[in-house]
Symmetry: C2
Subunit: 292 residues, 2 copies
């Protein structure tokens, strides 16, 4: 199958490589540069997103944020200029669910299907082809693209219509951030109360307080292992998406807002590239601190 | 063994019954009344906590809150008046870890050991003898009391010295409340963004957002099943303990504070006896609400 791939960064490059390895013909574009490892494998580098769309039946995007998707789809030389009816646009970036619905409508108006299919699992998951993929869009389009998803990920769910994939990703990032915050408050409390946080964590893992985050990030907090992992600066982007979408949807997310402020505080002190479990450091700064 | 039991409420009654069933001789006291089911089984009702302490080698307390433990131990006719050296006081109530350390010192000064051994699992766990028991205190005393704990619970951990059991319980209640809050923000977001929260929850259970709370309380939120379970008014008490202890320890717990406010909001509207997963209703009140 002729597949287009737009955005060959730290995520897109290994994802595109898996598709080439599976025997697909790839047409690729990036606003910066195309890594040699992709063209060496046989992908064809073209001059614009429009050229990708002309050559491919399924066009995948993997770019940083909402404005980049907007530009790649509808900017000058964008995907929309190269589309003909019957093609499928698949946005695997993590962007606004609210804007995603508008993008899907505009692509549908050109006679094409749209899938929003953000992932979790990071560059490790991208390399291992073990990404979790959360999809929104029409069932028939999902079934057509599924064989490609299966080359890039493992836990692949069609959640609902357009936007629902991005909504699920935002919900995921809210829960992950707030559970890290919960474990941080609890282990800081335990530590300041004089208990051994490692033993407290162990005792808590037997009951209702248990979570993947207590297991993985709880251990990072106890052992002070804050090398990434998933960087705070990326989680800041995701919570910004949650908070701006919440405003558009007219809902209040008080603990997401606080978690973002705690990330901001760690980033302000140079910690933006630390693992997101380093959020605990912002709470530590607030504890027992001498105020002049 | 002669065992004392002070506090025969909804938790203490089934716990005491398990000890009687295991063949122990029980001396019991409650400031209100002793349930007939306990004396019918052969427990001896006595006139005060001091009388319990005189008759028993191990004295267990299961009362509502810090002031009740203080009164039962050190008030007029309290345990301290009846103790002789070598006995063990076991507080299974959920109370302040900071005050617990002071109580333990005062009991130690009388030549007796002290264990703080709060539980989780609620009245269902008490009846089923499946409570999680988090213990602080000396190893030797723990080993002596362990056979009694094993008649009342299943997941029994000696976390550290006196206070560490209560600290672990507080840490547990912080994580449980904040994870409920996290799942509430995420599922409300999903719902207001137009996705099916049941499908979003299902998709999230495959990744880092998964937790016992997403499984159990997430399902309650999706199916609107808010009958208790663990009542909001009890979790309010526990978070009050967390917040007052945090103040004493000079640490800030911003999301615990917000979670408590959300519980307060649900309770203010008559929801104090609902399951704690009904916290989501406070966020729902804040969403899309017409303000005059």
């Amino acid at each position: 199958m002729n597949v287009g791939f737009i955005g060959l960064g730290i995520m897109g490059t290994p994802m595109a490589n898996h598709l080439i390895d599976a025997g697909h013909t790839l047409f690729v574009y990036d606003v910066f540069k195309i890594p040699a490892e992709v063209t060496d494998k046989g992908a064809t580098a073209v001059a614009s997103s429009a050229e990708v769309a002309k050559n491919a039946d399924i066009i995948i995007l993997m770019v940083p944020d909402t404005p980049h998707v907007d530009e790649a789809l509808f900017g000058k030389g964008g995907v929309a200029e190269g589309l003909t009816a019957g093609k499928i646009v698949v946005d695997m970036s993590s962007i606004s669910p609210v804007e995603t619905k508008k993008f899907a409508e505009k692509i549908n108006a050109l006679g094409c299907d749209y899938l929003d299919a953000p992932v979790s699992g990071g560059d490790v998951g991208a390399k291992a082809a073990s990404l979790t993929i959360m999809v929104g869009g029409p069932d028939a389009a999902f079934e057509k693209v599924k064989p490609l998803f299966e080359k890039m990920g493992k836990n692949i769910t069609l959640v609902g219509g357009n936007g629902d994939g991005q909504t699920t990703k935002v919900a995921n990032q809210i829960i992950v951030a707030l559970t890290i915050e919960a474990v941080s408050e609890a282990l800081l409390f335990a530590s300041k109360a004089g208990a051994d946080p490692a033993k407290v964590r162990q005792a808590l893992m037997g009951g209702f307080a248990n979570s993947r985050i207590l297991e993985v990030h709880g251990e990072r907090i106890v052992t002070r292992n804050f090398g990434p992992g998933f960087r705070i600066e990326l989680h800041q982007k995701d919570l910004n998406l949650a908070l701006s979408s919440a405003r558009a949807l007219q809902i209040a997310l008080p603990n997401t807002a606080t978690a973002q402020e705690l990330f901001n505080a760690v980033a302000a002190r140079g910690g933006g590239k630390l693992d997101h479990s380093a959020m605990v450091q912002a709470l530590e700064l607030l504890a027992n601190h001498d105020v002049a």
